[in-house]
């Protein structure tokens, strides 16, 4: 259906395609652990019905894994004149606009999987916990440039709380 939320006139900057690998393996590891853990009762009791839990979870995870490339393509951000625009989600879409002046701090995180392919995750923190702007899958240099740029922009547009 063509009723997806879309913002016109926005040239989205996409995250690195390598993030597909990170996201895929991250989800895969999590999926294996969860499915293994939920299989334990079924395995111990030999009750065939209990296998339904890990089986249904496995189906959900397989769908999630299959959609990883599209989900990563759905991630986008855009530095507008006065605010940072961020989008994520395929099934559950989310758009956020944060004025630069609202920045409290910027975090750069690198997980082990991120490090393996040379990516970083940038987190833009405001006074509202719900803002939740986390841009994953940025190449290290891009993330650092973006951080410096955001800090500089926030400095010129500093606002109170």
């Amino acid at each position: 259906m063509s009723t997806r939320l879309e913002l016109p006139d926005i040239e989205w900057r996409r995250v690195s395609p390598k993030y597909v690998v990170v996201d895929f393996f991250g989800t895969l590891i999590f999926a294996v652990i969860v499915v293994a853990a939920t299989s334990v009762p079924a395995f111990l009791t030999k009750n065939a019905l209990l296998w339904a839990i890990p089986a249904s979870l496995a189906v959900i995870f397989i769908i999630t894994l299959a959609l990883t490339p599209r989900r990563v393509r759905a991630l986008g951000y855009q530095l507008r004149a006065d605010d940072l625009l961020f989008r994520k989600g395929l099934m559950f879409q989310r758009f956020v606009a944060v004025p630069y002046g609202r920045m409290q701090l910027v975090d750069i995180n690198r997980g082990p999987l991120d490090r393996a392919v040379g990516l970083s995750e940038l987190k833009f923190v405001t006074a509202a916990a719900a803002s939740g702007v986390v841009i994953p899958g940025l190449p290290e240099t891009v993330a650092e440039e973006l951080r410096d740029k955001l800090v500089a922009l926030a400095e010129t547009r500093r606002a109170g709380l």
Partner: protein, 539 residues
């Protein structure tokens, strides 16, 4: 403690002379007693009460009584002298400790910040920036009021980020708050002194200040009584027409008709049914503590709200609560991040509303029943709501805005200035589909929700942190979206579900622009620094 000797406290504190003079000051001399000494006195009292039994037994029967009683044991073994010596020693140590800790607890207020030093072994030094003040609260617990003392709490944004000055002389606390707000407001120094002079002449520091000037030794008790009986807000310090009057009947009614009462009635019915069915009267004892707890909830909520007052001052909104223990807080302009006007179902026939706010700081002074600092109007009619909103959202609510606001509260929906959910959203908003909507006015965003529990959320654009738009599969199928404004954490959550997708996109774009513009134009962290910055209700 070596660089500057604090001045003699008696001079500085009780007269209410300027405390905000960048010098180190000490707190009220009764502070140790009020802070921890009360517990000490209580323990002493318990010991004495226990001792009395022993003494009576000795006098009447000659025998000290039960030999397992520790006092009896002490007397029988002739340790009495030693014990008394130990007690006196301990007492002296305590008093010395309290005295030293009082000596070491100093504060100073400079042009830029407020600084507090305290502790004997573990020294603490806390500084708060004045332009980050979110509110100044003056709390007077009942006992402290008897001593004419007050606790001044300077709230800055963040968890456990309050600077407490406990305790100060009552009048001095009022005076100090005024001075801190004056420093924080960003006025030029010359205007500041002129203003300080003017207001000290008019005596806006409250009756305590005026009384303290005339207080002689014999007049102290009289002064205490006047202070205790004086209204929470000095009548001349507030604009009389801006104060919302709390009516006794309305307060009682609002408590009786609260959701908590419904819960209580259901609980009582359930327990009666349980007892009649099972014939186990034992259950009654299980409910007893709960009933006592509920009673105290009502009483505390009642006494707290009874002397509620709200007034406008040049430095923000002043909200007072409490009957025996009072609290009185000033919120400078631009410190309110979201406002919610709500009406529980049972209040609707009476036309009562409640106003809650979200703010960046959390005052440690928890009011009765936890409704402390976020409920800015416990109960009021539509006229009261308008008055309070005018105070908390100055400049945002003009003649046109008032009309919109009123429709936001009481309108049944439809084409009334709000962009409402389309009819296809009825699946998700069974009753409120016509009311569920938003409106964007200059400076603020209004979100209207609920037909049964009616709510209106107002978010000043200058305080908004970010704006978000969501859409899940179900909403996509219905061509709807949900909106969310992000503000600091608080009781008000500005969100709106089931909005037409195109309208949501437009809202997202407009509000994102407006947030940037308003934030750029906002100067409320130094609210007096430019005269045109913000409309002052009573300046």
């Amino acid at each position: 403690m070596s660089e500057q000797k604090p001045k003699a406290p008696a001079e500085n504190i009780s007269t209410g002379a300027r405390l905000a003079d960048s010098e180190w000051h000490r707190l009220h001399p009764a502070t140790p007693l009020l802070k921890g000494g009360i517990a000490f006195v209580a323990i002493l009292g318990i010991i004495i009460v226990n001792l009395r039994d022993v003494v009576i037994n000795i006098v009447i029967g000659g025998s000290p009584g039960d030999e397992y009683d520790p006092f009896v044991w002490i007397i029988e073994h002739d340790y009495a002298g030693l014990i008394i010596l130990a007690i006196i020693g301990g007492l002296l140590l305590f008093i010395a400790g309290f005295y030293v800790s009082w000596r070491m607890h100093t504060f100073r207020i400079t042009e830029e910040q407020v600084e507090v030093r305290s502790g004997i072994l573990f020294r603490t030094n806390r500084r708060g920036r004045l332009d980050r003040i979110q509110g100044i609260n003056i709390v007077r617990p009942f006992l402290a009021r008897l001593f004419g003392a007050a606790k001044l709490e300077i709230n800055v944004a963040g968890q456990d980020a309050n600077v407490q000055l406990a305790y100060l002389a009552s009048g001095a606390a009022d005076e100090l708050r005024r001075e801190i707000l004056l420093l924080a407001s960003g006025t030029s120094p010359t205007a500041r002194t002129a203003d300080a002079d003017a207001s000290s002449v008019t005596g806006s520091g409250g009756p305590a200040e005026a009384a303290s000037e005339t207080a002689k030794v014999g007049g102290i008790i009289e002064q205490r009584v006047t202070e205790l009986l004086a209204p929470e807000l000095a009548p001349d310090a507030a604009q009389p027409d801006s104060v919302v009057q709390m009516h006794l009947g309305r307060l009682v009614g609002s408590l009786v008709l609260s959701g908590f009462t419904v819960f209580l009635v259901v609980g009582v019915i359930l327990s009666i049914v349980t007892i009649t069915v099972t014939r186990e009267y034992f259950f009654l004892f299980g409910f007893l503590p709960a009933i006592i707890g509920m009673g105290s909830y009502y009483v505390s909520k009642f006494t707290r709200s009874l002397r509620y007052s709200i007034a406008s001052t040049p430095d923000g909104v002043r909200v007072g609560f409490g009957l025996l223990s009072t609290s009185n807080e000033t919120l400078p302009p631009g410190r309110i991040h979201a406002v919610q006007v709500g009406q529980p179902l049972l209040w609707r026939p009476a036309g009562w509303w409640e106003i809650k706010i979200s703010r960046a700081s959390t005052s440690s002074a928890k009011g009765a029943a936890g409704q402390a600092n976020t409920t800015i109007l416990p109960v009021g009619n539509l006229a009261d709501v308008k008055k309070v909103l005018e105070l908390v959202l100055p400049g945002l609510i003009d003649a046109e805005g008032i009309g919109l606001l009123e429709r936001g509260l009481t309108s049944r929906g439809g084409d009334d200035g709000f962009v409402n959910s389309p009819p296809r959203a009825r699946v998700l908003r069974w009753f409120s589909v016509r009311r569920n909507g938003f409106a964007i006015v200059p400076g603020a965003v209004l979100l209207r929700r609920g037909a049964i529990w009616r709510e209106l959320v107002v978010v000043p654009q200058a305080r908004m942190q970010s704006v978000a738009m969501h859409q899940g599969p179900l909403l996509r199928w219905l061509r709807l979206a949900s909106l969310r404004l992000h503000t600091v954490a608080g009781p008000v959550i500005p969100r709106l579900g089931a909005v037409d997708a195109d309208e949501a996109a437009r809202f997202f774009r407009d509000v994102a622009d407006a947030a940037v513009r308003s934030a750029g134009a906002d100067t409320s962290h130094r609210w007096r620094s430019t005269p045109t910055a913000r409309l002052m209700p009573s300046d």
